[in-house]
């Protein structure tokens, strides 16, 4: 198939790109005008390394009608050819090859077509800004030059240095007035002029009744997202899809909301447009840093699902029962976590009827706990908002580790009563006592993630399986299961590479323009198969020499194994309790 035809088909979406409209961190951007000649030329230049998002060429999709069968459709011979091409496709972590194929295919700089003249003005405007900024940045960063560079002190990074530009993914948060709120690398002060340019772009496009969504260059994707008075920008060379980057920005926004609530953010900026939100967020940078590290390393955020620690169902049930018995009025969620994975969660009956706890909220909560327990001996009591649940209200979270000093098992109790610390702390004592009586901590410490070899399918190296809501577990927390990443994915680089492959598969499965049901993808060092049905979403990774039949058989076996182990891998029936005062006096527990 001819990529050019596809490109010209999408031509109306392609907007002018000029390097000067980008902040200076994005140098070396190829000019890509809405001119098919330039595009095809670009494509020729990049012929030797095909792009991941190249449509049609790299993947074959099963007929929707065959999706329920356990046999992925056999591809046609032409598809096989394309798969071959795919073989030498480089998709390395932090790969820096140009991505014009992608740019031409999905880029949409601006919602609704904008006429060329106004784009020209954007360009000119931004160019002027950029020059100004170049000066400003040097001046601002010079006092920082003497600070030593070290991986943990991202705040002190010299924002004029090449190493700063080389970061795989930058995330910026600014206020509508252009005031810096957060930058993943470098100090916000030093970046205030860069963020000024970003805001100029946003507001200029806005003045034409449009919304700037993204800018594509050869090496970078810039995604803009506005939420209330906040503007979030992702500048990424990770080659993730715009949708994925947008989703990550949403996590960042929601993490900020989880600390302040949406209502108070709106109120603050209504009151004072140029408020410096860092006043309220000071000290929370590490929470956002932690979140972005998680976004890059933990597939649960990509899949919007929760990873449970595999546990014998009898043990999980008895833990749930312990939580179920230790209640106090206004308690709404009791959550037990070990090694950053969910052990069990018990929810208030009324709450679960109203709305369910979203995995995204749980991720934010877990990240907050992980990134903020200053020292882990004490009991924390803090307001926290669960944005997907209710972005405007606080819960009060009681957080305590049950196994000091190791601090691997963490109890989180959420109440709606801000004065309830002492009664909630009393629940913890009850839980602690009951767990001691059953020697539960010891049992938990023996629980661990599983190895893919337990599945007993040769050639299968790794997988991620996410079952969807089916009637019997409706309103349940979306979960997924995945084995440990083992050799050859032992090193951090290899893990990142595998996750990148998964992300690429994920973006193609969930493409808004052309969603796929099934992808068989032969990569350089492995073969991947992604498959989505009405019942589950599955990503598998095989050794490179696996045949298609072999992979399909393996998946059948894998699904059978998961079915067998279901009770151990997932929380099957999340237990509930009732803590609202009611005639049955059930809140008087413990006897």
């Amino acid at each position: 198939m001819d990529p050019n035809s596809q490109q010209s088909g999408n031509m109306e979406e392609v907007k002018i790109f000029d390097p000067s409209i980008l902040p200076p961190c994005l140098d070396q951007i190829d000019l890509a005008y809405s001119d098919s000649d330039v595009l095809s030329e670009n494509h020729c230049v990049n012929e030797d390394h095909r792009m991941p998002s190249d449509p049609e060429g790299l993947l074959d999709s099963a007929d929707p009608t065959s999706e329920e069968s356990n046999q992925p459709q056999e591809p046609s011979s032409t598809d096989m050819q394309k798969l071959d091409i795919d073989d030498d496709r480089p998709l390395c972590a932090g790969g820096s090859e140009t991505d014009s194929g992608k740019a031409s295919e999905d880029s949409a700089l601006v919602d609704n077509g904008q006429d060329d003249s106004s784009e020209f003005v954007v360009t000119v405007l931004a160019r002027g800004k950029m020059e100004e900024q170049g000066m400003g940045m040097k001046g601002a960063s010079s006092p920082l030059c003497d600070t030593p560079l070290g991986p943990p002190s991202h705040r002190n990074e010299d924002v004029t240095a090449e190493s700063w530009r080389q970061h795989r993914k930058h995330v910026f948060v600014l206020s509508e007035a252009g005031k810096p709120i957060y930058s993943r690398y470098g100090s916000e002060e030093a970046l205030s002029s860069t963020m000024g340019v970003m805001m100029a772009l946003v507001s200029f496009v806005q003045s034409g009744d449009n919304i700037i969504r993204s800018v594509y260059s050869d090496e970078h994707t810039v995604v803009f997202m506005q939420r209330g008075p906040l503007v979030l920008v992702s500048v990424s060379s990770s080659r993730q899809s715009e949708q994925q980057l947008r989703n990550e920005l949403l996590y960042v926004y929601n993490q900020i909301v989880s600390m302040l609530t949406q209502a108070s953010i709106t109120r603050i900026f209504e009151h004072k447009k140029n408020y410096d939100l860092r006043r309220l967020l000071a000290g929370s940078e590490k929470i956002l840093d932690g979140l972005l590290d998680l976004v890059d390393s933990d597939p649960s955020l990509l899949l919007c699902a929760v990873h449970c620690l595999p546990l014998a169902s009898s043990l999980r049930d008895s833990l749930s029962q312990i939580l179920q018995k230790a209640i106090t009025p206004n308690l709404v969620f009791s959550i037990l976590i070990a090694k950053n994975q969910l052990l069990t969660i018990v929810q208030e009956k009324m709450v679960i009827d109203d709305a369910r706890l979203e995995p995204a909220d749980l991720h934010l909560l877990l990240n907050l706990i992980g990134a903020s327990s200053a020292f882990q001996a004490g009991e924390i009591w803090t307001p926290i908002c669960l944005p997907s649940f209710n972005p405007d209200c606080y819960f009060y979270a009681y957080i305590s580790y049950l196994d000091p000093p190791e601090c691997t098992v963490c109890l989180v109790l959420l109440s709606t009563d801000k004065e309830a610390f002492y009664s909630v702390a009393e629940c913890k004592r009850k839980i602690e006592e009951a767990m001691q009586a059953q020697n539960a901590l010891n049992a938990i410490s023996k629980a661990h993630s599983y190895s893919v070899s337990q599945v007993g399918v040769s050639d299968l190296r790794h997988f991620m399986y996410k079952p969807f809501d089916v009637p019997d577990n409706h309103r349940q927390l979306t979960q997924f299961t995945s084995p440990e990443m083992e050799a050859p994915y032992g090193s951090e680089e290899e893990q990142t590479r595998l996750l990148d492959l998964y992300r690429d598969m994920h973006s193609r499965i969930h493409s808004t323009s052309r969603p796929l049901k099934l992808i068989y993808h032969v990569a350089e060092r492995e073969t991947l198969l992604a498959w989505v049905t009405s019942k589950f979403e599955l990503y598998t990774c095989f050794s490179p020499l696996v045949t298609k039949t072999c992979a399909i058989n393996a998946i059948t076996k894998l699904l059978r194994w998961i079915k067998k182990e279901e009770d151990r891998l997932f929380i099957r029936y999340p237990p509930k309790y009732s803590t609202t005062p009611n005639p049955s006096k059930s809140s008087r527990d413990g006897h």
Partner: protein
């Protein structure tokens, strides 16, 4: 088993307040863990129980960020002592105590003891470069000798003098409507500390614990607290209804 939970019942409550980044968590960490480490900004408040002789002292380490002020009065309710902490190198942090934090103490006990603590003294004072001599525990974790001064770090300008802290103490008492003469003298409750070197940290906490002792004894003699004790009545019931055991 209920034994264990009852012995943990706090006798008295101490609250640490102060602007963000003055070192509240570090002070407590130095005292309880005997070491200094880079802490992460506290969210909400952290609750600690400190066994002190036969007594249980509960300590609330609170977040300095404005964001968490909503909970301030809850942390302070019924407090026997409030540690108002500032940073000796930051005048604003002293001013904030008066502007933002003093009003949070309205829910504290009427006989609440106030301590004014200037932390980070090691940055301005060579004296503060060693832990205080009174630290009776053998803590090898600290670099005792004056070596903690990195060669390139000159002493910083001290923005808040001891006199300023003493003056604040007088204003705190006035705010509370207390007679200065009837209260503890400023020299007893104004401290300059360094969580980094350990200077004066033990002195601060041990002095305060000594000072709240009368409050503990009073509470014990009164027997009744304003909070409902869920455990005592249950105990009574259990003995009465011995049949169901």
């Amino acid at each position: 088993m209920p034994q264990a939970s009852r012995t943990k019942k706090p006798d008295v409550k101490v609250v640490i307040l102060g602007d963000m980044n003055v070192g509240k968590t570090s002070l407590l960490h130095r005292y309880t863990e005997r070491k200094f480490k880079d802490t992460i900004s506290t969210v909400g408040g952290a609750f600690f129980l400190k066994q002190w002789g036969p007594y249980n002292i509960s300590i609330w380490d609170t977040a300095g960020r404005e964001q968490f002020h909503g909970l301030g009065s809850m942390y302070c309710r019924g407090a026997a002592a409030v540690i108002l902490t500032y940073d000796v190198t930051n005048w604003q942090s002293l001013a904030e105590l008066e502007n933002r934090f003093l009003s949070l103490t309205d829910t504290a006990n009427t006989d609440c003891i106030f301590a004014i603590v200037g932390n980070k003294a090691d940055l301005t004072d060579t004296l503060a470069h060693g832990p205080d001599t009174e630290s009776e525990r053998g803590d090898e974790a600290q670099p005792e000798v004056p070596c903690p001064t990195p060669p390139g770090t000159p002493l910083q300008h001290k923005q808040v003098s001891r006199e300023d802290a003493v003056a604040l103490y007088a204003r705190v008492l006035r705010y509370k409507g207390l007679e200065e003469k009837a209260c503890l003298p400023a020299e007893t409750v104004c401290f300059e500390t360094s969580a980094k070197t350990g200077y004066n940290v033990d002195v601060l906490f041990e002095t305060l614990f000594d000072l709240v002792l009368p409050s503990i004894l009073k509470k014990r003699s009164e027997g009744e607290s304003s909070t409902v004790d869920l455990e005592t009545p249950m105990e009574v019931k259990r003995t009465k209804a011995g049949c169901c055991a």
